[in-house]
Subunit: 364 residues, 2 copies
């Protein structure tokens, strides 16, 4: 696979948001893999998760780490880029190049910060649809996303029922639970309570030192990992050189959290975290509808719901509720309940559990 | 029931701690309910949970709120104070009157703060045993505790095998899981990252404003409540007067967390939180033994393990591991797995699920 390159699409027309506010101008960062065929019938849209980016596959020139879904997307992989043109867009509000709270407002050239409008999952989807239109794509073989990406995929099925043949909504839900909302409340408070946050007026250079962002990520890990994953990974081991009876002595799981949450502060933005948490919390496919049945009645795509038994963030029951509504409505759907071993993160690390299924559906 | 009164026992002899350090002098705050009989054979020791206190039952004069286990302890209740003499001691390290990080060192009269020694669950138990000795009590009808109190109860069975007839270990474990350790890591970091914490040099009057302590409590709630409890209680409702598309608009679950965690800062101490979290994280009955079987081989008390199916903090599997070890060792034990509806907190709010069992065992 060639080294992918981030592309940017700049839009001067306003993006009308669910909140009633507008973004104008706005930018979308994205990557593509494979080639669009002559009749533009082989495009697949990939949607990323909360902390993910448009860098879904391949390795940047001079780097070593591959995109977050590299095991799924590539030559002869589940999503075969010899056959399909794959596009992944950084969600509006996220911090990897698309318009976000730290973007400069027009014409003042002052960053939005807390003046950034609230973004919804549907807003993210609408922006991606506009990008597809500018690329001349009005049909998608599939829309595929996990976690917050799965929310976007389902939202896509609701907003643009005629556009995608298949929707794969993986490790996700139709409506964010109070439990997940509560977790994101704690994460957001941890960010805002950081002494460097200063009501959003931090300098970008300070973010790497913002412990509050690291704490938010720690709370996130409590949702992404299952208790079983942690036990298997860390086995109650104590860091050898740390004293058991020292207050700040650590278990291995603590060292892991220290290391992996500090590194998070080198590539994520606190305000993006707050805005994405807001989008995730207010996500509800049924909002503005009578109920979930009413919300899904216009769906025409074939919906593939993939969930993991040990996912404690988005539970199998939530996937079943989507499936039950689709069954009642006599829609085309499949529900896969997989025996993951990594909790919510199974969708990222156990691609082997479902890549054959995706390949089969795409190629059949 | 008469209004209970907090009593204080002051000890000038050193308390030898697992860490190798000593506490000297030290104080224990405690309450008693009912009367000790002539042959001192009717005493029951109650052990409190992480944020609990020695105020287990009754209502203080001029107050309205009853002790945390008032539905279990009282006249004609599961633990009948007409028959039993009940004592509950504030754990060393906690902030309700027993020696804690904010206590004054002798002779400097400077608070310990971060110089306080690390306390273990076994240390808490040893201190309580010393208090019982000064009261002339060398036999206990039962030792009963939930959550961190259940850890103490099991530790009591291990340390003083001949002293208690019955041990009730409720909603607890034999060894803190990596998942629970990870959660307490996030809580501790949230406390320490508060701008007012200042490496433990905060003023007591500042604690009510310490958002970091409130965030720790929020993360705690994610363990104490089950996702189902939250969904039942809050039903994804949005606070009416808060704007759905305002960044700081709130769901009801967020308002609940704001209110109940801010109030927590009016009665809990940040340094006590850190030290109790440490004690909870390094708790492991098997520490210093070959394994759990070896750790429990000396037990003589009848062990009653009560767990709740929907407890996500201390899982039923952990209780089963204790039961399996006791079964293998041919010890007297019972394992009750109850269908709670409030997650870990079921042990506090669904006393009706197990009070008859305790009554039956005590009176048979």
């Amino acid at each position: 696979m060639e080294c992918p390159v981030t592309q940017f699409a700049h839009f001067t027309n306003p993006l009308y948001l669910d909140s009633g506010r507008i973004l104008e101008p706005y930018t979308l960062a994205y990557e593509t893999y494979g080639a669009l065929n002559a009749d533009k019938s082989n495009a697949i849209l990939i949607m990323h998760a909360f902390s993910g980016s448009h860098h879904a596959a391949g390795v940047y020139e001079g780097e070593q780490k591959a995109g977050w879904w590299d095991s799924l997307i590539g030559h002869k992989k589940g999503i075969d880029i010899d056959r399909y043109f794959v596009i992944c867009v950084n969600a509006i509000g996220s911090c990897y190049g698309s318009t976000s709270p730290m973007s400069l407002q027009h014409p003042s050239q002052i960053p939005y910060r807390l003046d950034f409008p609230v973004i919804t999952i549907a807003d993210m989807v609408r922006a991606q649809k506009i990008l597809l239109s500018t690329l001349g794509i009005d049909y998608l073989k599939a829309v595929i996303g996990g976690s917050m990406g799965g929310m976007q995929a389902l939202s896509f099925a609701q907003l643009y029922p005629k556009m995608a043949e298949h929707i794969f909504a993986i490790a996700t839900t139709h409506c964010t639970s109070d439990y997940v909302i509560a977790a994101h409340k704690a994460m957001s408070e941890a960010i805002m309570n950081d002494p460097l946050f200063r009501a959003g007026q931090y300098e970008s250079t300070e973010v790497a030192q913002m412990k509050g962002l690291a704490i938010a990520r720690m709370i996130g890990f409590l949702q992404y990992f299952s208790p079983q994953t942690m036990q298997r990974k860390f086995s109650h081991r104590y860091v050898n050189q740390d004293g058991l009876y020292e207050l700040f002595g650590r278990f291995e799981v603590m060292r892991y959290l220290d290391y992996n949450t500090q590194s998070f502060c080198h590539y994520f933005d606190p305000l993006s975290y707050l805005y994405l948490a807001k989008a995730l919390c207010i996500y509800d496919l049924s909002l503005g509808y009578e109920n979930l049945y009413d919300a899904l009645k216009g769906v025409l795509s074939h919906i593939h719901i993939i969930s993991f038994i040990d996912d404690t963030m988005f539970k199998v029951e939530e996937s079943r509720q989507i499936a039950e509504a689709l069954m009642y409505l006599q829609k085309k759907y499949n529900l896969l309940e997989l025996q993951g071993s990594f909790g919510h993160d199974s969708f990222l690390v156990q691609v082997d559990l479902y890549d054959d299924y995706i390949r089969h559906i795409l190629n059949s």
